[in-house]
C-alpha cells in the first residue's frame, strides 16, 4: 500500500471527504478497473483461465470482465507462443485497442520466444508491440500474473493523466501549447 502524499485527509474534520489531486483520483479509478484483453494463444492461456477462475480470482483486482473485444479493454495479456502467422493478427488487435493501453507479455514464449527457437516462432512479442511487463515462467504461476497486474497498476498510478489529456486547456478554452 503506497501512501499518496497528495491526499490530505483528516476524518475528524472533513468526514468522508478526501482532498487529493485530479491526477491521483483519475489514476486510482483507472488502475483499479483494468479490463484485460486476453490474447490466450497456447498453454499460458490455460493459466490465464486459471487466474480468472475462482482460486486466483483476478476480479478482486478490478479485472472483472475478460473482454474479448479489443475496443473495450485496457490491458492486453499476450499469453502463449506468437508465431509469424499469428503476429499480424496480434498487431491488428493491439492497434484496435483505444489508448491508454498496456501490454503484459506472459510467459517465456511471449517474452522472448521461449524454448521454441524455430523458423515459425516470433522471438518475443515485443518485436511488434510495446510491452510494459514481462512475466517469466513456462507457464508462470497465476500469482506471478497477478503480480504483473499489480505492477501495471503501480505504473498507472504514476502516470500524469491530466497533462496528457490536455483537459485543463480544453475546459478553459486556453490555446493548447
Amino acid at each position: 500500500m503506497q501512501t499518496q502524499s497528495e491526499i490530505g485527509y483528516n476524518s475528524k474534520i472533513e468526514g468522508d471527504v478526501i482532498i487529493t489531486r485530479v491526477d491521483a483520483a483519475l489514476a486510482w479509478f483507472q488502475k483499479n478497473s483494468v479490463w484485460p484483453m486476453p490474447m490466450g494463444l497456447a498453454c499460458c492461456g490455460i493459466e490465464l483461465m486459471a487466474v480468472g477462475a475462482s482460486r486466483f480470482d483476478i476480479s478482486r483486482f478490478g479485472s472483472e470482465v475478460m473482454r474479448f473485444s479489443p475496443r473495450q479493454s485496457d490491458c492486453m495479456i499476450v499469453a502463449g507462443t506468437v508465431t509469424y502467422k499469428m503476429a499480424g493478427f496480434v498487431k491488428r488487435i493491439y492497434d484496435q485497442m483505444p489508448s491508454p493501453k498496456w501490454v503484459i507479455a506472459m510467459g517465456a514464449c511471449a517474452s522472448t520466444g521461449g524454448m521454441y527457437r524455430s523458423y515459425a516462432v516470433l522471438q518475443g512479442v515485443d518485436k511488434i508491440i510495446p510491452v510494459d511487463v514481462y512475466v517469466a515462467g513456462c507457464p508462470p504461476r497465476p500469482e506471478a500474473v497477478l503480480d504483473a497486474l499489480m505492477k501495471i497498476q503501480e505504473q498507472i498510478g504514476r502516470e500524469p493523466i491530466l497533462s496528457k489529456l490536455n483537459l485543463v486547456a480544453k475546459l478553459t478554452g486556453a490555446p493548447t501549447p
Binding site: A42, S54, Y116, P139
Partner: protein
C-alpha cells in the same frame, strides 16, 4: 381434456435429411464471415471462414497453423530426453498423458516397452487417467461456458485446481509436467500423495454429479445440442476420428482395450459408446469416461506394487544403465556409471535403426508418434499424429446445414486443442 399423443421423433438420419431439404428452399445471397483466430481462449487460435446464407452455414473452411511452432523439426535436432518438455505442450490440457505416450513410443523403439517394472506401469496409468479427467473437465467447462452456462466452468476449474495440486506435489509443476523419462519416471510418488488422490477422487465424483445435474437433463442444453452435427459411423472411420468423437458415433474402439499397453489388461473398466453421433452423445461419452477414469484410479491406488509409499523399494525405472541415468552416488564413485551418465547426457539414449509407430489413447483421441531412427540419440524423423488435427478435418463436412450459433456448440463438442493440432 385433450388427448395425449406420443411425440413422434424420427431417427436422426431422417431429421437431418429433412433439415437439408428445408435448406434448399432458403437459398439466397451468401455472406462470408471470418470466425477469427482470436477466440475466447479455450479452443485456442483457430480460424474458420464461414459462408453464410442468412443464419444458415453453407460452407466452412478451417484455417489452422496459427500455433505451428515447428516441433517436428526441433525433434530432429534434440535427443529423445531433451524432447520431453515439448511433448507437454502438445495437448497442454493433459500433459501427463503426452509424456506417457512419448515415453512409451521411444521405449517401443528401444524394445523395452514390455520390460517396464510394474510399479512404473501403474504410476503411468494413474498419470494418464488423471490427465484424462483434467482434460475432460476443461473440455466440459469450456463447452458449457461457450454455450452460456458459466457456472459449470467455475465448478470444473475448482476440480482442476485440485488436480494441479496433485501434479505439483508429484512432478513439481502445475502443468507442463515433463514427468516420464525414457525407461521409467523421473521420481517416485511423494509421501501422502495416495491419500490426497483418494480424497480428490471422492470430491470429483460429487463435482461431476453436480455438473450433470446442471446440464444433462437441462431442457435448454438438450435442445441446443441434440441432433446437432451428426457424424455417421462410416464418416467417423473415413475421416480418421479417434477418442470420444469416434466412440460417440457408435464405433466401439478404444486403444486401451484394443491394443492394451502398460497394465490396462489387469484393470476393469468400461468403454462408453454413443449411438447417434451428435454433440449430445459426445458430451455423454466424455462424462462417462471421467467416471470410468475414477474407477481405474481407485483400482490403481489399491493395487500398486509396493504400496503407496513404496516400503518395499520397488524399482520405477528399467534396470539398464544404457537407458536410465544411474544414481548420483554411483556416478561419482564408479567408472562404468560415469561413462553411462556421460553418454546418456551428451549423446542421448542409443536407439537401434528402424521405425515404429505407437498410438496412445489420449483424452482427445489417438496421439501417435512415428519415429524413424537411423541409430543414435536423435531421431531422423519424428511425426506426431495428433488427434486434434485429424478431428478438425471433419469441420467442412458437419458445419453446413447448421445455424451460426450452433458452430460454437459443435466446436465445443469436438474438444480439440490447437497446441496439438498445429504442433
Amino acid at each position: 381434456m385433450a388427448t395425449v399423443q406420443d411425440i413422434q421423433i424420427p431417427d436422426p438420419a431422417t431429421r437431418t435429411a429433412a433439415a437439408l431439404e428445408d435448406l434448399q428452399d432458403m437459398q439466397g445471397e451468401k455472406m462470408v464471415l471470418n470466425m477469427g483466430p482470436s477466440h475466447p481462449a479455450t479452443h485456442g487460435v483457430l480460424r474458420i471462414v464461414l459462408e453464410l446464407d442468412g443464419e444458415m452455414i453453407t460452407k466452412a473452411e478451417p484455417d489452422v497453423g496459427f500455433l505451428h511452432r515447428g516441433d517436428e523439426k526441433i525433434a530432429e535436432n534434440m535427443t529423445y530426453t531433451q524432447f520431453i518438455p515439448y511433448t507437454d505442450r502438445l495437448d497442454y490440457l493433459a500433459p501427463l498423458a503426452n509424456n506417457v505416450a512419448y515415453a512409451l513410443a521411444v521405449e517401443k523403439l528401444l524394445g523395452i516397452h514390455d520390460q517396464l517394472p510394474p510399479r512404473c506401469q501403474y504410476i503411468r496409468v494413474m498419470c494418464a487417467e488423471l490427465a484424462r479427467i483434467s482434460s475432460h473437465l476443461l473440455g466440459l467447462g469450456a463447452f458449457a461456458m461457450d454455450m452460456g452456462a458459466v457456472t459449470v466452468f467455475l465448478l470444473t476449474f475448482t476440480e482442476r485446481e485440485k488436480i494441479y495440486n496433485l501434479c505439483e506435489s508429484l512432478t513439481g509443476a502445475r502443468f507442463t509436467t515433463t514427468y516420464t523419462r525414457i525407461g521409467g519416471l523421473s521420481r517416485d510418488l511423494p509421501p501422502g500423495w495416495a491419500d490426497q488422490c483418494r480424497k480428490f477422487l471422492e470430491e470429483v465424483v460429487h463435482n461431476i454429479d453436480e455438473s450433470e445435474t446442471l446440464l444433462t437433463r437441462n431442457r435448454i442444453w438438450v435442445d441446443r445440442i441434440r441432433d446437432l452435427a451428426v457424424i455417421s459411423k462410416a464418416d467417423a472411420i473415413s475421416y480418421g476420428l479417434s477418442g470420444p468423437n469416434l466412440r460417440g458415433s457408435g464405433v466401439e474402439y478404444d486403444l486401451r482395450k484394443a491394443k492394451p499397453y502398460l497394465c490396462y489388461r489387469d484393470l476393469e473398466f468400461d468403454i462408453p459408446v454413443g449411438s447417434t453421433g451428435d454433440c449430445y452423445d459426445r458430451y455423454l461419452v466424455r462424462i462417462e469416461e471421467m467416471r470410468q477414469s475414477v474407477r481405474i484410479l481407485h483400482q490403481c491406488l489399491d493395487r500398486i506394487p509396493g504400496g503407496a509409499d513404496n516400503r518395499s523399494k520397488e524399482p520405477i525405472n528399467v534396470a539398464d544403465g544404457k537407458v536410465v541415468l544411474p544414481s548420483k552416488q554411483k556416478v561419482l564413485s564408479s567408472m562404468e556409471e560415469l561413462i553411462h551418465q556421460f553418454m546418456l547426457v551428451t549423446e542421448g539414449v542409443n536407439c537401434p535403426p528402424g521405425e515404429i509407430y505407437f498410438g496412445h489413447e489420449n483424452p482427445k483421441g489417438e496421439l501417435g508418434f512415428y519415429i524413424h531412427s537411423k541409430g543414435g540419440g536423435t531421431p531422423y524423423r519424428m511425426k506426431i499424429r495428433s488427434p486434434s488435427f485429424v478431428n478438425l478435418s471433419i469441420i467442412p463436412k458437419i458445419f453446413p446445414g447448421c445455424m451460426m450459433s450452433d458452430s460454437v456448440a459443435i466446436l465445443g463438442s469436438l474438444d480439440f486443442v490447437m497446441g496439438e493440432c498445429d504442433r
